[in-house]
């Protein structure tokens, strides 16, 4: 694949990659590695690539577990779009979407058994990428839209 870094900012046209994953845990790694490869080719800093990997993996896990209830026959869609300034990842499922606020985990409550040790995925997504949108659109489905800017200074 030719690296887009050889192109000027104006020459970078919007490009799109789509994945269709079975709703089976483990397949989030395909989306994670695809996003990471794409981001690395675009010259995203290594620490931001790691942020993106975790955020994409967690969004896919949410879609597999909560959106599609682990039904392997139901597809999780992942659409990666880049333009000259950002990488956007949409993770689509067939669920009813997020209906509650995303709160930071309370580790003390978790340690005391007063809070479920799980339930940190959405918090991590929001903490690791530059923009997040949770879109609920039943009965068609729902999606999480994650955005990471290629140059944080130009947000």
């Amino acid at each position: 694949m030719k690296t887009d870094k050889s192109l000027s900012v104006e020459q970078r046209k919007e490009q799109r990659v789509e994945l269709r994953l079975p709703s089976k845990l483990g397949f989030e790694k395909i989306a994670m590695q695809t996003a990471a490869s794409y981001a690395a080719i675009l010259g995203l800093a290594p620490d931001r690539v790691e942020d993106l990997k975790t955020a994409v993996a967690e969004a896919c896990i949410n879609a597999i577990e909560h959106g599609n209830h682990g039904d392997e026959k139901v597809v999780v869609g992942v659409i990666l779009t880049i333009d000259h300034r950002r990488l956007e990842v949409k993770v689509l499922d067939h669920g009813s979407g997020i209906t509650h606020a995303v709160l930071p985990p309370d580790i003390d409550k978790k340690m005391l058994g007063e809070e479920d040790p799980r339930g940190m995925g959405m918090f991590l997504i929001e903490a690791l990428v530059d923009e997040v949108e949770w879109v609920s659109n039943p009965p068609e489905g729902s999606y999480a839209r994650l955005v990471i800017y290629l140059d944080r200074e130009k947000r």
């Binding site: 483990g26 058994g113 940190m120 903490a127």
Partner: protein, 119 residues
């Protein structure tokens, strides 16, 4: 698709002759790792007070895996065990700090430092 979790348990003595149990994780730590991680931990000899978690061979860690580690730390906290960790990438050191785990396990850059911290 997921790399299975395995846990190797070693008993070491620090330079100061302190007994330390080291849990060396290999593979992925995800929702399917619960038995491997917690069985290894719960199989430690009674009275184990010092534990080191080695993440240097972990390929992939997600929030479900972190939840299992929280469960391990929760059990350790109840029995006043001292649990230290090393081998996490800079990214996962940041993630551990974000979710607050670093309040219950100190992160060290490498094994000698983690072991020496018990002296």
């Amino acid at each position: 698709m997921q790399s299975e979790t395995s846990v190797k348990v070693e008993q070491l003595k620090t330079a100061a002759a302190a007994q330390v149990a080291v849990l060396r994780f290999h593979g992925d730590i995800t929702s399917t790792s619960k038995a491997a991680v917690l069985d290894a931990y719960r199989g430690l000899p009674a009275g184990t007070g010092r534990i080191v978690l080695d993440f240097s061979k972990v390929d992939y860690l997600n929030s479900s895996g972190i939840a299992i580690l929280i469960q391990l730390l929760m059990e350790g906290h109840k029995t006043s065990q001292s649990i230290h960790s090393f081998g996490l990438s800079a990214h996962f050191q940041k993630v551990f700090a974000m979710v607050g785990i670093t309040k219950y396990t100190h992160l060290y850059p490498d094994e000698p430092t983690a072991l020496a911290s018990f002296a």
